[in-house]
Amino acid sequence: MKFTTILIATSTLLHGHGVDQFSSSQLEEPTPEVTSVPVTSEDEAPPLIRINSTVQSFNAGQPWQRNSSKNRRGTGILISPTQVLTVAELVADQTFLEFEAPDSSDRVRATVSIIDYKSNLAILEPANTDDLGFLGELSPIELGEPAAIGDDAIVWQLEYNGTPLKTKGLIRGVDTVSTFLPGFSFLCYNIKGSMQSSSSSFSLPVTRGGKLLGLLTAYDSDDQLSTVIAPEIIATFLEDVGDGHYDGFPSLGVASEPTEDSSFRDYLKLGDEMGGVYLSRIKPGMGADKAGLQVGDVLTAIDGSPIDRRGYYEHPSYGILPWTVLIRGEKFAGDQVRLEYLRDGEVKEVTATLTVAEDPLVPRHIHDSAPPFLIKGGLVFQELSSAYLRAYGENWTTRAPLDLMHVLHNQKDYEEGRERVVFLSRIIPNPATVGYDSVNSQIITSANGQEIKDLKSLADALAKAPADGIHTIGLSDAPHTLYLDAQLANLVDQQLLQSGLPMLSRMSEDE
C-alpha cells in the first residue's frame, strides 16, 4: 500500500507506520452508495483558509546553517475568531507563515500559537491580532461529535480559483496511525472516497453535519483511502490548549509486548482465557512506575476495559483498537487510570496517575529549535538526536556510526550523569587539529577535568584556558583524549568566523 500526501512529496514519515495499522483496522460492510447520502447543512462551505508555509530545517552535519527552503501550501480551518487549526507537519520548521483567502484576495501574516508534533496538530494565529484581515469575515466552525463507522463525512479542498471542492466519503474504519512522528500513533478514521489530487491542498478539513470532524493527513490514491485525525484527539488537544497552558498528551511510561506465544503465556501463568500485554520496560518516575508496576507484569485491563493478548481492547463504538488509545486519546496529564495486572499468577489492581513523558536522552526530533552545537578549535560538538542519525539518509540504521546508533537503542545505559549525549560530529581541518583527522563520531566524556552532561557543560568547561594552555577533551574511544592548544584554538575559531561561519556556538533555547 502506498501513501501519498497530497502536496508534500517529502513526507516520507507517513509511509510505513500506517500500513500495519490499516491491516488491523476493521472494515464495515455493507458499503452504502456514497453519492446517495443526503446532503444537509453541509452544502455551506466551512471557513477554509489557505496556509502558505516556508519550511527550512537545519543541516544536521553543519548545524550553523539551514537546508534549502521548501514552500508548502495547505488548508486550515477557523475554529475561533483568531485561531486556525491545521496539521503540525505543515508548519514544523517554518520560517515564514501566512494565511491566504481562498480567492487569494487577501493575505495575513501568521504565527504558530501551539504545536504538538506527536498528535500532528497545530493552532495558528494572525501575527497581529488587531488586524485579522479576511479572517474577520469568516465564522468559526465548531468541533463536532465523534462519528460511527459507516457514517459519511465531507472532505474539503480548495480549487485554484478559490471554489471549495467537496468530496463525500465513508468512514470505513478506525485505527491508530502515526501521521507525523514515527512511534506516536493516535486515533484516526479511515475514510473511503475518491479525491481530486490535482487541486493542491494539504491538511484537509473534514466535516460532518456542518461541524468539524477531523483533519486529513494522508490520502492513498490506489485504495482511495484517507487518514483523518479523529475528533477525540482534536477535542483533547483543544481542551488542553483552552486552559492557557498546553501540557501535551500523557502516557503511562511502559513498553509492552504481546502475549500470543503460548509457551511464554504458560511461563507467565496466564490462563487460556486471559489476555494482557507483557511489560518489558517501565520508565522511572512515570505513572506506571509510581504505581508500583514492574518489568514482567502483565497489564490485563485499563479502567475496566480488558486488553487481549495482542494488546487490543474493544472500543464501544469503534470496535477493536490498540490499548494505547485508552491512554493517548481523551485523557489528560494528571488523570488517573485503574490498572489491572498479573504478577506471579495473581491479579492485582492499582491506580496510576498519567504524566507527559519527558524528552528522552536522545530526543526524537528537533523541530522549530535549532540544533545546539559548539565549535572549539575546529572541533564541532553536538548533542545527539535521532534527527541527526536519520540525516544519514536511506539505510541510516546501518550507515550512521555504530556507536552512536547503539546509544539511540540503549539510552538507559548512557543516562548516568547525562542530560544529553555530547559527541564530536566533525573536525574542520586546521593547524590545531593536525593528526586528528581519523577521530570522528565519538562521545565526549569529559573536558578539562569536568564531567560532561550536556553541551552547555562542555562549553563551560572549555570557556577558560587551563593553566598549561592546553584543553583536554575526554573521548569514549581511541585516542581517548584530544589535546587542543587553547591559544591556537581561539585563533582558529576567529579565522573560521572570518571565513564566513556565522557563529561558534548555539545552546539549546530552553533549559
Binding site: F264, Y278, L402, H406, D468, I470, P479, Y483
Partner: protein
C-alpha cells in the same frame, strides 16, 4: 578497491583440453634451465565442498576449480591457500602429461594464503628441479609469472616489472595484511599459486589481481614464504603473531606537549592493549611507544628497515609465537623498557573468513544456534545493531575472555513452540536459565541438561522479553523438525 583471488573456477572453464597432447616440440638445449623451471610448475585441480553456514548441518556445496603450484622440495608443492581451500580432492598434473596425480594438503595457512601439498605417490616428481627460493627483487626489475591461467590449457608465461613493494591486504581471509609485490605482468584466474621467477629463482607466489585496474598483479614475496615454511617445520601451522596493541599517531603539537614529548616526530600513543595478547599486563593504554627491537618508532608508527619506512607491525611479521620483542616506552615521565613474548590470539580470527571447517551449531526445539564469526555474519546477513556492536567490541573490549563464542540464534524453524519467536532471530544469547553463556558447548550443556527446569528461559541481547521453551516439549519438537529438515544431529561442537 576490490582484490580478486586469481583462482579459476570450473564454472568459467570453457576450454577443451583435447589438443594438449599433440604439442611435443623439444625445447632447444640453450633453454634447458627454462624447461626445467617450466617442468616444475604444476597444474592443480581441486574439487571442493564449501560449508554452508546458512544450513550448518548440511554437507555444503560441491564445486571445484583450478590453479597452479610448484615444486620447492622433495614432494613439497607450494601453492595458494585459496586454491586448495575447502578441498575434498586435489589432483596434480605435470607439464606435458595427462596423468592426474592425487595429492594431499599437508599444511594450509589462510592468514597468508599459502599451502603445501604432497603427492600420494611422489615418484613422478623424481628428476624435477626443486625451485630455489630467492630474495626480494628490486623495484623496476623484471619478473616472469608462470602458471596455468585462463585462456588456454598449456603453461603460460607472462613478463613484467616490479611496480611496487608494499604492506597490503591479502584478500583470501579479508583481515590480514602482509608484505606484497605488485607487478605489471598479467596475473589471471588460474595463475594462483604459480611462481614468479627472477634469475631462475622464485621471488614470489602469484596470488591476486585487481579487478578495476589493468596489468596489476600481486605476488606473495619470499619473506612471507620463508616464514610459512619455517612455521610448518614443527609439523603444524600456527597463525601469525601480533603485538596486540593499537596505536595513534602523535602528529599533534598540543598532544605532544601535553604528553611531555619533545618536538622530534618520535613515538606513538598506545590506545588499546589486547587482553591476553603479547603486551597485556606490560604495556598500558596511554603509554608512548618509542622503539621496537632497537628501531626507533616515528610519530606515524613507522620504523626504518633497509632505508625504507615500514609499519612497526612489520617487525613481528617474521616472528613466531614464543619469540621475544624488546620495547621501549614512556609512561608519564618515566622511560621504560620491556621484553614481551609474542603469542597468538585465536580470538582474532572471528573477523576473518574461515575455510575447511565444519560449521559448529546447536539445534534446540527449532532454534539454530551458531557462534558468531564473519562466515555466520555474511551467510545470515546479520545487521542487527546489538549484534554488530558485540561483534565490533568482541576483541578490543575483551569480551572473548568471558565469552569465547557469541552464541547467536541464526535461524528459527517454524513449529508450534517457535511460531511467535520472530523477534529473537539473529540475536545473541546472553543467558540461559539465568546462567551467562560462555560458548556453544556451554549453551548445549545448559539447553540439554538432564535437570532442565520446567521452562527453559533464554535472554537475548536487545530483546525486551525472554524466550521461553517448555523443556519437556523440546524433545518432541526436535524429533519433528529434525526429520523435516533432515538434520542428523542436534549439534556439532567442533573437534
Amino acid at each position: 578497491m576490490r582484490l580478486i583471488p586469481a583462482f579459476f573456477f570450473f564454472a568459467s572453464l570453457i576450454f577443451c583440453s583435447a589438443e594438449t597432447t599433440t604439442a611435443n616440440s623439444t625445447p632447444p638445449p640453450a633453454a634447458a634451465t627454462e624447461a626445467n623451471i617450466f617442468d616444475s610448475v604444476l597444474r592443480i585441480e581441486v574439487a571442493t565442498q564449501v560449508p554452508d553456514y546458512r544450513t550448518p548441518w548440511a554437507p555444503g556445496g560441491f564445486s571445484g576449480g583450478r590453479g597452479t603450484g610448484f615444486l620447492i622440495g622433495p614432494n613439497q608443492i607450494l601453492t595458494n591457500a585459496h586454491v586448495v581451500a575447502n578441498a575434498r580432492r586435489v589432483l596434480v598434473t605435470m607439464r606435458n602429461s595427462s596423468r592426474k596425480l592425487p595429492a594431499q594438503v599437508k599444511y594450509v595457512a589462510h592468514d597468508c594464503d599459502l599451502a603445501l601439498l604432497a603427492l600420494d605417490d611422489p615418484s613422478p616428481l623424481e628428476g624435477l628441479l626443486q625451485l630455489p627460493i630467492g630474495e626480494m627483487p628490486a623495484l623496476d626489475s623484471e619478473v616472469r609469472a608462470i602458471g596455468y591461467p585462463v585462456g588456454g590449457d598449456r603453461l603460460s608465461v607472462t613478463r613484467g616489472i616490479v611496480s611496487r613493494i608494499d604492506f597490503q591486504a591479502y584478500s583470501h581471509s579479508r583481515v590480514d595484511s602482509h608484505l606484497i609485490i605488485q607487478v605489471d605482468a598479467a596475473i589471471n584466474p588460474g595463475n594462483s599459486g604459480g611462481p614468479a621467477i627472477q634469475d631462475d629463482k622464485v621471488i614470489g607466489v602469484a596470488f591476486q589481481g585487481l579487478r578495476q585496474a589493468d596489468n596489476t598483479g600481486y605476488i606473495i614475496p619470499t619473506p612471507v614464504i620463508r616464514r610459512f615454511l619455517k612455521d610448518v617445520e614443527d609439523g603444524r601451522y600456527d597463525q601469525y603473531v601480533d603485538l596486540g596493541l593499537s596505536h595513534f599517531s602523535l602528529f599533534n603539537p598540543a598532544m605532544r606537549k601535553a604528553l611531555g614529548l619533545p618536538d622530534d616526530d618520535k613515538g606513538v600513543l598506545v590506545t588499546s592493549v589486547l587482553p591476553t595478547g603479547a603486551c597485556d599486563g606490560i604495556i598500558e593504554v596511554n603509554d608512548v611507544l618509542l622503539s621496537i627491537d632497537g628501531k626507533s618508532i616515528d610519530s606515524a608508527g613507522n620504523i626504518e628497515v633497509d632505508g625504507e619506512l615500514i609499519n612497526l607491525n612489520e617487525v613481528v611479521e617474521r616472528k613466531f609465537a614464543g619469540d621475544k620483542i624488546a620495547l621501549e616506552y614512556l609512561r608519564g615521565d618515566e622511560r621504560k623498557e620491556a621484553e614481551v613474548t609474542l603469542v597468538t590470539v585465536p580470538a582474532t580470527r572471528i573477523y576473518g573468513v574461515r575455510y575447511g571447517e565444519r560449521p559448529r551449531y546447536v539445534f534446540y526445539a527449532g532454534l539454530v544456534l551458531q557462534p558468531l564469526n564473519l562466515n555466520v555474519m555474511s551467510a545470515h546477513r546479520i545487521d542487527n545493531l546489538n549484534v554488530r556492536k558485540l561483534y565490533a567490541d568482541y576483541l578490543d573490549e575483551g569480551i572473548f575472555q568471558e565469552r569465547p563464542d557469541l552464541v547467536t540464534i541464526t535461524r528459527i524453524e517454524m513449529d508450534e513452540l517457535t511460531s511467535e519467536l520472530n523477534e529473537f532471530k539473529k540475536t545473541v544469547i546472553n543467558t540461559i536459565n539465568g546462567t551467562p553463556v560462555r560458548d556453544l558447548q556451554h549453551a548445549y550443556d545448559l539447553l540439554y541438561a538432564e535437570d532442565a527446569p520446567e521452562f527453559t528461559v533464554i535472554e537475548c541481547e536487545g530483546v525486551s522479553r525472554p524466550l521461553v521453551i517448555p523443556s519437556a516439549k523440546a524433545k518432541q519438537a526436535n524429533e519433528r523438525l529434525m526429520q523435516i529438515n533432515n538434520i542428523q544431529s542436534t549439534h556439532y561442537l567442533g573437534k
